[in-house]
Symmetry: C2
Amino acid sequence: MSSRLRGVFAPVLTPFNDRLDPDPKRFITHCRWLLDQGVSLAIFGTNSEAASLTVNERLALTEDLLEAGVAAARLMPGTGGCSVMDAVTLTRHAVKNGAGGVLMLPPFYYKGVADEGLYAYYAEVIERVASEKLRIYLYHIPQITNVPISLNLIGMLRKRYPDTVVGAKDSSGNWDNTRAMLDSFASDGFDVFPASESLLSRAMPLGAAGCISATVNMNPAGIRAVYEGWNGADGGALQARADVIRSIFQSGPMIPAMKRVLAAFSGAASWRVVRPPLCALSDAAAAELLKTLAQAGFDMPAYPQT
Amino acid sequence: MSSRLRGVFAPVLTPFNDRLDPDPKRFITHCRWLLDQGVSLAIFGTNSEAASLTVNERLALTEDLLEAGVAAARLMPGTGGCSVMDAVTLTRHAVKNGAGGVLMLPPFYYKGVADEGLYAYYAEVIERVASEKLRIYLYHIPQITNVPISLNLIGMLRKRYPDTVVGAKDSSGNWDNTRAMLDSFASDGFDVFPASESLLSRAMPLGAAGCISATVNMNPAGIRAVYEGWNGADGGALQARADVIRSIFQSGPMIPAMKRVLAAFSGAASWRVVRPPLCALSDAAAAELLKTLAQAGFDMPAYPQT
């Protein structure tokens, strides 16, 4: 963890087999395909069903990726959780293995907690991991956690740990909040990643570092093109093209929909499997989705066949 | 897991040392004191900071209790969580050790999930644990989880697993919901536990099985007296007396307040320790609380001194 992470990240979908166990082989295949398209890997995010995985499953999948030769510097694993001790275990493992950074949820069980309590959680992880290589990106997703990462909390953490708490992912979907994060902290070297490629053209001029977006799993090259070309002659067209694809996935439950698309493009039916409490897409809904995508000219270039 | 669980349960507070590690010795002491007052033990509930514990910490504390000779039949451990596989591990362990039942949260990370997805989670645990000894109590606490246990879900589970899904704790604080649960399912042998002793006099006549309440940690004998005597000559007075104690704790953050009281009555200062994101009570707030309790004649009879 040394240079700043920038660019486009996929919150990597996690494949399961029919017994609901993680499938390391397909996981590695999907990660390699994403890397080949020029994006990086936010493994164990919301779209990864990370909350549905055990700590040991997350550690094992990370080891599998590294053994397969995936560059640790391009990984931003999710390491936050309800238990600060689980967060320590996952974060320490990420640092030990050279991950480029970690994306840390706040503890999300208790509600109405004070910023001092959230500060104490992050501070406990930082003090216990005790490594100058640690780079934390705060994960703000209040519609899921109901525990917001406030500007006040960011300020408290930046003041005490300026070289460790170096950025945030804003999944609020609230542009006013993203802009406030950028306005308050970007000029000071704090790297803000919106959670949608649709915000790239608006956020990049204000100093955003890229994006971490569910649909990078589906359209990595198209989103990378927006990141690289938003201020070029084709910027508007690239943004509009990526927005069309995103809007199709946003119309339904995204994780089951994206998994169903991977099942279709990889030929591996088990890609459709989700862990409870998520529900797999029905065959009818999947057929409709694939038809809509085809009409929009959607493709997954060179996706490895099973 | 054979006979039905009834009566008064404490969601047992979890003691930590100054390094934030669980303190098995004080945990056993507190559990024994509660049992001696005639109540049973809902270990690893919300008030236990269970979400802040790792799975291994929960397994180890359970083993410690059992090795100390605590009767497994009087335990109702919390075994639910975001990961269905963690829920399987914890539930299997509880059944193997003869716990009287388990109190199961729904998976609480993803929001807006369908009842079918929650059903799949409980069904997965039931099918994998595969024991006719398993007795599940569903844990409805929507103000924390934002994932309600609906009457529809209870009906679905009761239909398929009538001998396994045998009750619920209703922590909603919504009497209309508690009454609807009782009206819909109590006559069919489904045991509903409200989460407050203040509801005992109203819920018992409708067939409630008892209560599982935070303040049982503070006032076990008083709450047991309400459970046993609500319909006797002193019923109103017993209820009013318990309500006074409860109302004092409800005026602030309950977990830190209760821990501070245990620190005072046990002489063990470390009882005040909470894990982040909770914050310990300030000395000033603690002094005020203890003064208010003393004025109300509060006592913890025979609490073991350190």
